[in-house]
């Protein structure tokens, strides 16, 4: 099922895009970038929903009723949960609305990674599996083997640049930075010091860059190209929808934003 509905379509989409630009240097890297744009376009509504959900949750933290319930039922967790659900219903908020779209990214990441590894086929068994994965309508005999070189990278291997004998993982650093910027941009200002959502957002803005940076450091650099492209597109999406909070990127910017929110 995973094979049929995720890996095979992803692999064929990648190969199809690659076949359109096979003569361009670094074609597989460009194919990953275009693939990411396609995936981002498909998941645009989901991301928009995530942003909307995060915004709604944030606004809720500053809601007087919400704050009153938190105080009133601070010692009765069960009642607090019931009241919170009531408020969610009343205001039409899905508490997982900001979380589920993020989780949907994981199968995409895993599927893409497996598609990249399969398409680049570094061993005979992998190449045989690739031959089996290709849809009959796609003629890839002439395309194989795929050129895994893109700029200075071998997309099937983790990336690093040797500087004075030290291997600098540049892509992992860029992945971490762009992930950090993206998560910072999506953190709305809040005036509520007990705002759990803001606290979680802050933690995530540190945790996610480290996690994705680790993936980029360890796994094939093709995945890093996906991360970076996806992050840049995410930043673009926040910017064009007017939801990007650029102040958060400045030193002390979140304090200024909080003051403004008050």
């Amino acid at each position: 099922m995973w094979q049929t509905f995720i890996i095979q379509p992803f692999t064929n989409l990648l190969l199809w895009i690659y076949s359109l630009m096979a003569n361009i240097p670094g074609a597989f890297g460009w194919a990953i970038i275009l693939f990411t744009i396609v995936i981002r376009a498909i998941t645009w509504p989901l991301n928009a929903q995530q942003l909307k959900g995060a915004q709604a949750m944030q606004e809720l933290q500053n809601d007087k009723d919400w704050q009153a319930i938190q105080k009133k039922y601070a010692k009765d967790k069960e009642k607090l949960a019931q009241e919170q659900m009531r408020v969610y219903k009343e205001k039409g908020i899905n508490p997982f609305g900001s979380c589920l779209p993020t989780l949907i990214q994981f199968p995409i990441i895993i599927g893409l990674y497996q598609a990249i590894i399969r398409a680049l086929a570094s061993a005979p068994l992998g190449l045989l599996q690739l031959a089996r994965s290709v849809y009959p309508s796609l003629s890839v005999a002439a395309l194989i083997p795929l050129n895994s070189h893109f700029l200075w990278m071998d997309l099937g291997q983790p990336e690093s640049i040797s500087i004075f004998g030290f291997n600098l993982p540049t892509l992992a650093i860029i992945v971490a930075i762009t992930t950090y910027i993206q998560s910072k941009l999506t953190m709305p200002a809040t005036a509520n010091p007990g705002d759990q959502s803001a606290a979680m957002g802050k933690t995530m803005s540190i945790y996610m860059p480290l996690l994705l940076g680790y993936f980029a450091l360890t796994f094939a650099s093709g995945l890093s190209v996906y991360f970076i492209t996806s992050n840049l597109l995410g930043i673009f999406q926040y910017a064009v929808t007017g939801r990007a909070n650029w102040r958060n990127l400045l030193p002390g910017g979140d304090q200024q934003a909080k003051a403004k929110a008050k």
């Binding site: 990674y113 570094s122 068994l125 031959a131 083997p145």
Partner: protein, 369 residues
Amino acid sequence: MKPKFVLFALVSALAALVLSGCTGRAALTNSWPGLASDGEIAYLASGQFVYAIDLENGREIWRYPSKGSNSIHFIAQPVVAPDGTIVVGSSGSDHRLVAIDPSNIDASTNSPVEKWIFTEARSSWVAGALILNNKVFAPNSDGNLYVIDLQDGSSSKSALQKISLGGALWAQPSTDGSLVYVASLDHQLHAINPENYQFAWPPIDLGGAAPGTPLVGPDGNVYIGSFTSEVVKVDPSSGTDTLVTSTQGWVWGGPVTDGQNIYFGDLEGNLFAVDAASGNQSWSIQPDGPVVGSPAVMGENIVFATESGSIYSVDSEGKIIWQKDLGGQIYTSPVVTTDKIIVAPMQAEFALAVLDTDGNQVWTYTPEN
């Protein structure tokens, strides 16, 4: 918010686990085993070890290295040099090509001593080397054919010559004595003079990847199949190629000959015989699955394996003499001696099986940890 944290942490851990599962070096280089024999011993290159198995009784004589390592992984066919030295390359992150001396066993580890190691290659060793005139012609996935002196006595080798051929080399080279033929994944067939390392003619574009060993046929032409679902023959004097036949599926394994016919399989599950003299297809049969490895000639008959786990013996007219289902999948070309057929399946109950000429199973071997 706590459940969200827990959920996120769990999903992240799961993602890391799944990604790790498909990217470990061993997984990246995972493939079917390499197999060779000198007539008395079978050499199985599988996973972290090369195993030497006594063909008489199926007992393990030694394994190399004595202790497994995550950086060393064997899938390439071991090659037995005339002096008994075994040359085999690793497809793991440690890209070593090693020559091991089976006549010199370290008593403390029961593992043969390394004669020399070559570490200049930048990528995996997928194919076996060709040994010609005391030189090792070793094809690497980095696109280079490394020429190494077999007998200069040094324990750490440097290449006599590094011949850059472009695409990854997954096929063992072959020779007619005067030229070395090397097929590459980037669709080329090269002919190289083994003395001065000059190209005999410009590379021939096969139109598709060629992971099989080129065959020097009984007519002196070089036969090679590719992912274009075609087998062509090349005149070694002029370097011109002619279509021999089209197949239904990609041709993976190199062709073999019994002196009259040329035999090869395809991934659609066919075995073909082409008369070398006339160039006409003599016959084709459909076994129970794709034929990935090369067939082998055993006396009057042809032995080949299918992905479905069967071994077949057919005569030169294409009549099936016997079929034996071993289970698992068989991608590795079977190796034959005068009276035995050696088979290395994947995902079977054993790693190695030996059949007699009638297809009866003589013994099986499973490595002990």
